[in-house]
Amino acid sequence: MFNLIKYEFVKKYKLILITLISSVVLDLYLFTKGIGGSSIFLVLFPTVMSILYTVDVIKMYGDDINKKSGYMLFMTPNSGYKIIVSKLITAVIEGLAILLIFFIFILINGSYINYLSGVNINFNDIVYMVNRLMTGNLGINLGHILTFSLTGLLILISFFTTVYTAMTIRKSIFSEMKFGGVLSFAIFLLLNWGISRLSSWILDTLPSSYNSFIFSDLYTASEWFRMLLPANALSIIQSIILTLCSGYLLEKKINL
């Protein structure tokens, strides 16, 4: 598994370096445009990176399953399940790394904007704000952040497993049909439609305390956690089922 993940990064290390260097150069250039420039970067970076990240994660599996270079991976004595899981782990690590880099940019650009606007950063103020966050005096606390991050992560994984399953179905059950890309997308839409219908039906049958989403900062982290529990559980179940389906198809039906 380690080697599979390692080579996913080896294959794309140049792309990662180019993206990182381009981001730094762009940020430095926008520094010269003052507060507006730095602020624009903080909007631009997550927008562009979300698109690039989604494309990259889809391409990571799509290339292996659709191009001849995928033989490199599929000739190795690794089960289909292992291959799919290694792709998902790589996607999660990549996503977390992008998030971390974004936070670093926020810190750097935030400090720069403060410097330009003449606000002196007081270290004690930062400690005070962190304390307020941890104690929940900001309306949200670390528990909220972790709860929402967990939900976000689970939604992301379930999205990628749906995409991967659509591509796997296309390369196994429908491997010889024409218009592969369109067919993959159609299968993806169909899977999403089916899953959302099933999810709505399950959530509707639950007691109202589990499915009433009124956005308010009055909820505590544990209340949010409880309310998000069914949706999170569904995301986990969906991801596991789709991963098992993809793994099975890779093992038993694949035509590369």
Binding site: N3, K68, S69, G70, Y71, M75, T76, P77, I254
Partner: protein, 235 residues
């Protein structure tokens, strides 16, 4: 099960949307022999190899390696060289060697470097910059540097110049011993005939002829290439 048996195919069928690529193929291959898988383009040679390598799944029928049904586990005992350039373009030759070394426990890295030196493939070259001849030699060197029971080389002489063909043939014959079996697919029959112990003629996905090369030569009173021309004259 025959003590010498390595690979057994039973009524293997592979159907694509509107085409039959393999039609009821049944074969038993023994250890320590070099098999020539011969047939014109589109006869099913590559499909058969891909099914054995686990890159395609048969529509019906069974396949066993050492009496074990083909699965990801048996991939560990099969070294397959596809005819296409399947190596990652962004890799250097040394990266490809490292990849094989990391992925296959049986891969002999020192052997690979020795072979690459012998066939003049610079390990610092990027794969995207290699000529088709060098890629052909690199693929053969990587496949033969694994220590497995079954090797399958799909068109190893394709796109390779005449001198390099001799080098590749030499590598193949040196890699064989009584424990290793090799299946070589080609339509360049005359080039490879001398190293083949047995031949399998595939025509429209069916086995047209299968037997010991020497016995076939005697029976037909001509070379394997001659028999090939007879069998496939009207294809």
């Amino acid at each position: 099960m025959n003590k010498l048996e390595l690979l057994r195919l039973e009524h293997l069928n592979k159907k694509y949307y509107n085409k039959t690529a393999l039609d009821n193929v049944s074969l038993t291959l023994e250890k320590g022999r070099i098999y020539g898988l011969l047939g014109p383009n589109g006869s099913g040679k590559t499909t058969l190899m891909k099914v054995i390598a686990g890159l395609h799944k048969q529509t019906s029928g069974e396949a066993y390696l050492e009496n074990e049904p083909l699965s990801y586990k048996t991939k560990g005992n099969i070294s397959y060289m596809p005819t296409e350039n399947f190596l990652y373009d962004s890799f250097k030759v040394s990266d490809a060697v490292k990849f094989y070394s990391d992925m296959y426990a049986d891969f002999k890295q020192e052997n690979a470097y020795a072979l690459l030196k012998e066939i003049n493939v610079d390990t610092e070259f990027r794969i995207s910059k290699l000529s088709s001849g060098l890629i052909g030699k690199l693929k053969v060197a990587l496949a033969l540097s694994r220590d497995v029971e079954l090797y399958m080389l799909d068109e190893p002489l394709n796109g390779v110049d005449v001198l390099s063909r001799d080098t590749i043939m030499d590598l193949i014959t040196r890699s064989c011993n009584e424990n290793k079996t090799m299946i070589i697919s080609t339509h360049l029959v005359s080039e490879i005939e001398k190293i083949l112990d047995s031949v399998i003629f595939l025509k429209d996905g069916k086995i047209e002829l299968f037997g010991d090369s020497e016995e076939l030569r005697t029976a037909h009173g001509m070379s394997v290439e001659g028999i090939y021309k007879e069998v496939f004259r009207n294809v």
